[in-house]
């Protein structure tokens, strides 16, 4: 039985399914974004959790589209992250496990 929650997000005309992001990771990344961090470390941190959420096949497809200049880096990093956490927040799915105890 597949009871995993998914969020469907369109990236320039193509829809992808993402599993919910880990609230602790979200907290960490939102804090880092608030510090206006730029560069490779931020991109690496974002892509790590977004790739996990998308799954290998979808993430490969997304990065192929980036290589083909169909997507900008921000489309599937910062902007995708912001769209996903907005959706999760609306669902009340951003409460870290420790807070829920």
């Amino acid at each position: 039985m597949d009871d995993v929650k998914y969020y469907t997000v369109q990236l320039k005309g193509v829809a992808y399914r993402f599993t919910p992001l880990d609230p602790e990771d979200v907290k960490k990344l939102v804090t880092a974004l608030h510090l206006n961090l730029t560069g490779a470390k931020m991109v690496k941190a974002l892509t790590k959790i977004l790739a996990e959420s998308a799954g290998v096949e979808q993430w490969d497809a997304i990065t192929d589209r980036y290589m083909a200049d169909e997507l900008e880096l921000d489309d599937f990093t910062v902007r995708l992250f912001e769209r996903l956490i907005k959706r999760q927040d609306k669902d009340g799915a951003l409460t870290p496990a420790a807070d829920a105890e």
Binding site: E24, K28, L29, T31, A32, H34, L35, L37, M42, A45
Partner: protein, 175 residues
């Protein structure tokens, strides 16, 4: 407990995030006011660029760094203002309102030349100006109520319960 003279100080501050100590240079009230919209990372926003990057790295690397940064941001806000951090935050927010800011500027107070403590003191003075004792107490109480999650800091042992009860009685006209 913040020093009574904290409002006058123009000293650097230090914070510890994930076990690493950082020196935050003196910043005038204007910088604190601008950083206040991101209270959780305020300390890092006041740091110099290299330290802000390093703090960011720690945030990404160590899970406790997020909470450390939040706690340290609140701590230095309170220490620099010489009052509870939420009182400083409320006074800073109030000072950004057009009427209060307008009056402060017209009276010659410049947020870029004053310390956080001085700016908060000027804002406080303006907010209680013309109030009688009851009005002032009411303002003090609304300023002093801790935000959610910080109720435990309400009683820091610094206040005399008898004095609080007397003030309450006076406020409610039952004294």
């Amino acid at each position: 407990m913040p020093s009574d003279f904290a409002a006058f100080l123009r000293e650097p501050l230090s914070i510890t995030v994930a076990g690493v100590r950082f020196r935050i240079p003196y910043r005038p009230a204007g910088a604190w006011a601008i950083g206040l919209h991101r209270l959780n990372v305020l300390a890092a926003l006041l740091a110099d660029d290299a330290d802000r990057e390093r703090i960011g790295d720690l945030v990404l690397e160590y899970p406790q760094a997020v909470d450390d940064l939040r706690r340290e941001s609140c701590r230095i806000l309170g220490e620099s203002a010489g009052r509870k951090w939420w009182e400083a935050a409320r006074l800073l927010s109030a000072s950004a309102g057009p009427e209060v800011l307008g009056r402060l500027v017209l009276s010659g107070v410049d947020p870029w030349s004053r310390s956080l403590g001085e700016w908060c003191a000027a804002t406080y003075a303006l907010c209680v100006k013309g109030h009688d004792e009851k009005g002032r107490l009411k303002f003090d109480f609304s300023l002093g109520i801790p935000p959610a999650e910080f109720e435990d800091e309400w009683d820091d042992g610094a206040d005399d319960p008898a004095a609080i009860m007397a003030s309450l009685a006076e406020m409610t006209g039952k004294g």
